[in-house]
């Protein structure tokens, strides 16, 4: 009996050992992790994303293969399948994320597309107003010139009239001397008016002499008025005033003629074109009706409205020209290359034009002279050099054609 019992115990023990030896190993941490992930809520969400489904299914197939390999006690293979399953699961997750990020990007694009027309509209309204203000400025300048001229002639005529009336009433001075004085005053007034015509009172070269002549003439009139007996002295003063007026006129006339010549629209336009060619080079400056088109190529960081480094010199020259040629209107057109979306590029081109406008306004150029427009990516000027198309084109036109 005891032998039998012992044999039974040995048999049971051997069977146990055999059973334990044949049982599959425990699941590896990777397999457990994969199973956990595939049962999570996140996995349910991934399954609903079209492109992620494929990777999710592969992850599930790897899990099954890993489990089967484990059951077959091929532990190394089971482990490998679990790792591959985890990689596939993470890929499915990333693809699902792609889907979400693509939707976010699409929404951001839609927002920009919706805002683009508003930006264009506001910009057009601003440009229109700037043009109106510019025209009003021009009209005011013309009206002021007209008014000042009329006023000056009126004052001169009134003075003359008053003086002659006083002289007519005076009987103390000999008619010969008085005639000479009157002639002298008339000559002085004539020369003074001629001086006004050539802006002798404005040019630094003639201004002080002209002022002295005016004071001299006024002093002579006052003296004649207060001391009619001092006719000889008045006559000398008048003669000196005539001399000074003549000197101021002689000095101012060539300066004025030169200025008028220089400021003639056709000459100003020609000079501006020449200066643009000299500074930017012939390929980057083109003649425009009544002005010039300056092309500032490769001015911006691709996709941005920020200036590239080393563009300061170009921009400084542009500022100088805008300041020097103040009677020219300025149109700034922004452009982009074709990289990126058309909608985004339209916005970028608009912002580029605004960047240049802001720069000029900061430098003191009147905003009412400037108009801006974004042209987007469609007008490629440099097909062989994409970055050159990240540009603005500045058109300066004389305002009085």
């Amino acid at each position: 009996m005891s032998r039998f019992a012992m044999a039974m115990v040995v048999a049971i023990a051997l069977t146990g050992v055999a059973l334990i030896g044949c049982a599959p190993a425990e699941k590896s941490p990777d397999l457990l992790e994969l199973e956990g992930k595939l049962q999570s809520e996140e996995a349910q969400r991934i399954r609903e994303v079209p492109n992620a489904v494929r990777f999710h299914q592969e992850a599930r197939q790897y899990r099954r293969a890993a489990e089967e390999a484990r059951q077959d006690r091929r532990d190394e293979r089971s482990q490998e399948y679990a790792v591959l399953g985890l990689i596939r699961y993470r890929t499915a997750l990333a693809v699902a994320q792609q889907f979400e990020e693509a939707e976010t990007l699409q929404a951001a694009n839609a927002k920009i597309e919706a805002l683009n027309p508003e930006l264009r509209e506001v910009n057009q309204a601003r440009n229109e107003l700037a043009r109106e203000v510019r025209e009003l400025d021009e009209a005011i300048r013309a009206a002021v010139r007209e008014r000042d001229e009329a006023r000056r002639r009126q004052e001169a005529a009134a003075l003359q009239e008053r003086f002659e009336a006083r002289q007519g009433a005076s009987g103390d001075v000999s008619s010969e001397v008085l005639r000479e004085i009157n002639e002298g005053i008339r000559e002085a007034v004539r020369l003074r008016d001629a001086g006004f015509d050539v802006k002798a009172d404005e040019y630094p070269e003639s201004r002080s002499v002209f002022q002295r002549a005016t004071d001299q003439l006024q002093a002579a009139r006052n003296l004649l008025d207060s001391e009619p007996g001092a006719a000889e002295s008045v006559r000398r003063q008048v003669a000196f005033a005539v001399q000074l007026f003549q000197e101021a006129l002689d000095t101012a006339t060539p300066v004025h003629e030169e200025t008028v010549e220089r400021m003639r629209p056709e000459n100003r336009i020609a000079t501006l074109r020449q200066q643009a060619r000299n500074n930017f080079g012939a390929p980057f400056s083109e003649e425009e009706p009544n002005g010039v088109r300056i092309i500032l190529a490769r001015l911006f960081v691709p996709g941005e409205a920020d200036f590239r480094r080393n563009t300061e010199t170009q921009l400084r020259v542009l500022k100088d020209l805008a300041e020097e040629y103040e009677e020219f209107s300025i149109q700034i057109h922004g452009f982009t290359q074709r990289r990126g979306g058309a909608t985004a590029n339209l916005t970028t081109s608009q912002l580029r034009a605004h960047s240049v406008r802001d720069l000029l306004v900061e430098a003191g150029v009147s905003p009412s002279r400037i108009e801006t427009a974004g042209m987007g990516q469609d007008q490629i000027r440099y097909p062989d050099n994409a970055d050159n198309n990240d540009r603005v084109e500045v058109i300066m036109r004389h305002t009085s054609p």
Binding site: E101, N116, A344
Partner: protein
């Protein structure tokens, strides 16, 4: 008898040669595949958004190195395991880089939207200023013309 032995010897030599060629043919694609993986990985690593997949890239590099070592040891099974891991990892890295690209694209567009909104505000206040200036200029013109 001798001719039969010689014939069989040639057959054996031919068989060995065919087997060697087959072995080389099998080994060659794996070598090419590793080169190709290396190049793809380097390309992905250079992309702007590779940071998002830094860990996966590192892991793939490790597995590539292990595959090469296994190849030198002629441990075909290990080569197969590692090659498949790297192959799957490249899919994952590509997907992650694309996530980064899309995210960065959306951030740029958001920034652009902000800039546009600010620009509209700037232009609107400029319009107000220009309208005031226009009204002042019109009054001034009327005044100057009235004085003439």
């Amino acid at each position: 008898m001798l001719s039969v032995i010689v014939k069989r010897g040639w057959v054996a030599v031919l068989l060995v040669a065919v087997l060697l060629m087959a072995a080389v043919a099998v080994a060659q694609p794996t070598g090419d595949q590793l080169e190709s993986f290396e190049a793809t990985l380097a390309e992905l690593e250079e992309s702007d958004q590779s940071g998002i997949a830094a860990e996966e890239i590192e892991l793939a590099r490790t597995w590539l190195a292990e595959a090469r070592q296994a190849q030198e040891r002629r441990d075909d099974r290990m080569v197969e395991y590692r090659v498949r891991r790297v192959d799957h990892s490249l899919d994952l890295i590509r997907a992650l880089v694309q996530v980064g690209n899309l995210r960065a694209g959306a951030a740029v567009q958001d920034e652009r939207y902000e800039t546009m909104t600010q620009e509209i505000e700037t232009l609107s206040s400029e319009i107000e200023e220009l309208e005031e200036r226009k009204a002042r200029r019109e009054a001034e013109l009327r005044r100057v013309r009235g004085e003439n």
